[in-house]
């Protein structure tokens, strides 16, 4: 694996983890003590019981991110690491933005602008509108910048989430069977976890 990957400040990494107590603490504490920077982190359950999926945006040069992934992979509760920079992926982020509405003219202006971004109104008050926008990071940042002059009261972003493109599933369905996720034995037997997705380029 020698394909040159240009260092970028942000790297998108997903992890499949066992849904065990403290798994989030284990992961964030690892990032903290080794000095890696997490820009965003989102966590959710998957279609498989007992397995959660996390998407991180890690900032740092390629070496730092590789080291972070390798360290993550050593955690017992981490089932698989997916380095999205090595494959085509689709990513999305959701944001809620509460914008100040001073008068009716402004309200119209704001709503028109929001339509351009296909933003949905999820709450409308006398003095504020709350929008929901979904998209990639660029679109969300652009939306926030457009709204800024009107006065943003508050925002909440979910952080990026991502999946590999195509029909390949990161969770091979044959590994998981109902009732077996308790012991997760098949997962452990499925090592080496050296699928293509987590092959990192300095490993020959």
């Amino acid at each position: 694996m020698t394909s040159p990957i240009q260092p970028t400040p942000d790297h998108l990494v997903s992890a499949l983890v066992r849904d065990e107590p403290r798994v989030l603490t284990r992961i964030t504490s690892l990032f903290g003590r080794r000095g890696y920077n997490i820009k965003s982190l989102s966590v959710g359950t998957t279609e498989m019981p007992g397995v959660s999926r996390m998407t991180f945006v890690v900032s740092g040069d390629r070496g730092v991110v590789e080291q972070a992934m390798k360290q993550l992979d050593k955690l017992h509760d981490v089932v698989k690491i997916i380095d999205h920079s090595l494959e085509k992926f689709v990513d999305r982020e959701l944001v809620l933005v509460k914008v100040r509405v001073e008068n009716t003219d402004r309200r119209i202006e704001i709503r028109q602008m929001a339509e351009d971004f296909r933003a949905r109104i999820v709450d409308a008050g006398h003095h504020a509108l709350t929008f929901e926008v979904t998209g990639d990071e660029g679109k969300i940042t652009a939306f926030i910048e457009q709204m800024r002059p009107f006065g943003i009261l508050e925002t909440m972003r979910t952080g990026r989430i991502a999946l590999t493109r195509g029909s390949n599933a990161d969770i091979p369905s044959h590994i998981y069977h109902e009732g077996e996720t308790q012991t997760l034995e098949p997962l452990l037997q499925s090592a080496p976890r050296e699928g293509k997705a987590r092959e990192v380029n300095n490993l020959f």
């Binding site: 107590p21 504490s29 390798k70 050593k74 017992h76 509760d77 300095n202 020959f204």
Partner: protein, 603 residues
């Protein structure tokens, strides 16, 4: 005085899963599972939240429990057991303070990859999180210093968790795993199933492309050098064969000592801060450096950017995260050291590099230790008595570095030292644990006067179990010698809080208080006869060697310097007044002490 341990191991039942009995509890399931894993010795200390486990222990005579005098002693003893045998060490403590006393040992085991199972009690489930008496969040505390840890919330899961914990501790790069068991889980009726040991996953084999590339690099080498680390202790035979087949000069790191026989002319010694002149210069001038099972610790590399500046580095390690972490590997090989060594041995072309060999031979003559009486002389005389099967453990500091420089190991797992964490107080309990694992060999402990006092209470454990094969040598220079050396070199001789000589105990009287014989020597001639008496004594014994404090450990690579910038020999001292006063004061103290305590402690 010595009571025989009432509980004798019964090997007949070992390795057999116990049948589920009607009054089975979580605590009994724990012991049944440990016994089924062939664990016949555990080290521990009871307390409130682990009492059901200790109660259940009485039903399992096949497991021997060694009662230490401090949980830190118990866990270091378990580490010594594990390091000497390569098998898992087990220790047990109660909740709160008992559990927190394990922290140092867990961190030590994590750094040095010691397979260890730590079992702690905790308050009952309904009390967890309420700041109950002796409650501590030990899983939270030990999260960064264990390979993994568990809280058992369902008694029926206990055997599965223990089996998994043991597998994790032993597999791949070994390490400590902690299992925290609330008291009510220990007491609860057990309705689950006992489990058989889980197989450890197979070690990764090297990729053929990597091996082919490595062979090519090796064949092209003009100045090759092999570095062997602690991760290769289990691959000693294969790596030795590899090195001999290629005739590669071989360096063993502090943790790798013994993985390559010191008697072999290819051996160059230890690299790094207190490494040999030959090892450090060989690394600095090598054109191909192949490393097995090492992690290029900062004490090994010196200034990283000038580490092996001319070398193409082949890094063989099991742990992908270690490859490229500190030193960039030109050829990374993620593989089991033994398999990689075997794969690289077949096509060997023995090196004939007369110039390189002549250069190495010249370096090997450099960096002599002082011949006048001092710690180096004392350590030299003690380690000269090591037989190939004997185990040597040390604490941390000058005596450790001197022992690492001067001892000659022919076999792996005979040198047990705290390398990564640098734990004072490790040596004696670790030596005790190793001695229990291998009662037929002599376990020699070298400690300083400072470190020995950190776990000296385990003298009681020697006596309690009548352990007869631990020989403790205290190199007493009245100072925290290594800190003093740094103060001398880098803090303009401001000796801040390092003098112990005014308040050290009479170590022979201390030993005598535990019914252990002791000898003392304060010069080279007396030392030889004292060593004879100490080693030939039938039973464990203590030897105190009183040495002056003025010598440092050399060669030395100052922190932040490159390996080739090492100070080869002790600089000639220009005594200033402060130094003189200090030396005078401590010498007086020492001579007073030694004249007063010349005689052996009474038996």
């Amino acid at each position: 005085m010595t009571q025989p341990d009432p509980i004798q191991p019964d090997s007949d039942q070992r390795g057999q899963p116990q049948p589920t009995v009607p009054d089975m509890t979580g605590a009994k399931a724990l012991w049944a599972t440990l016994a089924a894993h062939g664990i016949n010795t555990v080290f521990g200390y009871p307390g409130g939240a682990i009492m059901p486990v200790y109660d259940a222990l009485t039903y399992y005579p096949e497991v021997r429990h060694i009662l230490a005098r401090h949980e830190q002693g118990a866990i270091h003893a378990a580490e010594g057991w594990a390091k000497a045998t390569g098998q898992i060490g087990v220790c047990i403590a109660t909740s709160g303070p008992g559990a927190t006393n394990l922290v140092t040992g867990l961190a030590d085991a994590m750094m040095d990859n010691v397979p260890l199972l730590a079992i702690t009690g905790n308050v009952a489930r309904h009390l967890m999180g309420t700041d109950a008496f002796q409650e501590a969040d030990i899983t939270g505390i030990t999260l960064p210093i264990t390979k993994h840890n568990y809280v058992v919330t369902d008694p029926d899961e206990l055997p599965m968790i223990i089996a998994e914990a043991i597998r994790i501790a032993r597999s791949g790069r070994p390490g400590p795993v902690l299992v925290d068991i609330p008291k009510d889980v220990q007491l609860a009726a057990f309705h689950g199933e006992l489990v058989r040991p889980q197989a450890t996953p197979e070690m990764p084999a090297p990729r053929p492309e990597a091996i082919a590339a490595a062979l090519e690099l090796l064949k092209s080498a003009q100045k090759p050098v092999l570095m062997v680390g602690g991760g290769a202790q289990g691959a000693s035979k294969e790596i030795t064969a590899f090195a001999r087949a290629w005739q590669i000069p071989t360096i063993t790191t502090l943790m790798g000592l013994g993985a390559f026989p010191a008697s072999d002319p290819l051996w160059l010694g230890m690299p790094g801060m207190h490494g040999s002149v030959a090892a450090n210069h060989a690394i600095s001038q090598a054109d191909v450096l192949i490393g097995f099972g090492l992690r290029f610790d900062d004490r090994v590399t010196g200034r990283v950017k000038d580490f092996a500046p001319q070398a193409q580095i082949i890094h063989v390690d099991l742990d992908a995260a270690e490859i490229g972490k500190i030193v960039r590997a030109h050829l990374p090989v993620r593989a089991d050291a033994a398999q990689a060594a075997v794969a690289l041995t077949g096509d060997a072309v023995p090196f004939e590099r007369p110039e390189w060999n002549a250069q190495l031979a010249e370096w090997k003559t450099r960096g002599e230790h002082p011949t006048t009486w001092g710690a180096a002389q004392a350590v030299r005389q003690v380690v000269a008595r090591l037989r190939p099967d004997d185990i040597l453990t040390t604490d941390v500091g000058q005596h450790q570095m001197l022992a690492a420089q001067l001892a000659r190991f022919e076999k792996p797992r005979r040198w047990l030292t705290s390398g990564g964490l640098g734990t004072m107080g490790f040596g004696f309990p670790a030596g005790l644990g190793a001695a229990m694992a291998e009662p037929q060999v002599t376990s020699i402990v070298i400690a300083g006067d400072g470190g020995f006092q950190m776990t000296a209470q385990e003298l009681a454990t020697l006596t309690k179990y009548d352990i007869r094969n631990v020989k403790i040598c205290i190199i007493n220079n009245s100072y925290l010698g290594m800190v003093r050396q740094w103060q001398e070199l880098f803090h303009e001789k401001r000796y801040s809080e390092v003098y112990l000589g005014d308040s050290n105990p009479d170590f022979l009287k201390l030993a005598d208080a535990y019914n252990i014989r002791g000898w003392r020597a304060d010069n080279s001639g007396d030392l030889e006869s004292a060593i004879d008496a100490w080693l030939s004594h039938d039973g464990s014994a203590l030897l105190e060697v009183v040495v002056p404090n003025e010598h440092g450990v050399f060669p030395m690579v100052p922190a932040g310097a490159a390996l080739y910038e090492m100070i080869e020999n002790e600089p000639v001292k220009v005594p200033d007044l402060g130094e003189k006063m200090n030396t005078l004061a401590s010498n007086t103290a020492v001579s007073e002490v030694s004249s007063e305590r010349k005689t052996e402690a009474s038996p």
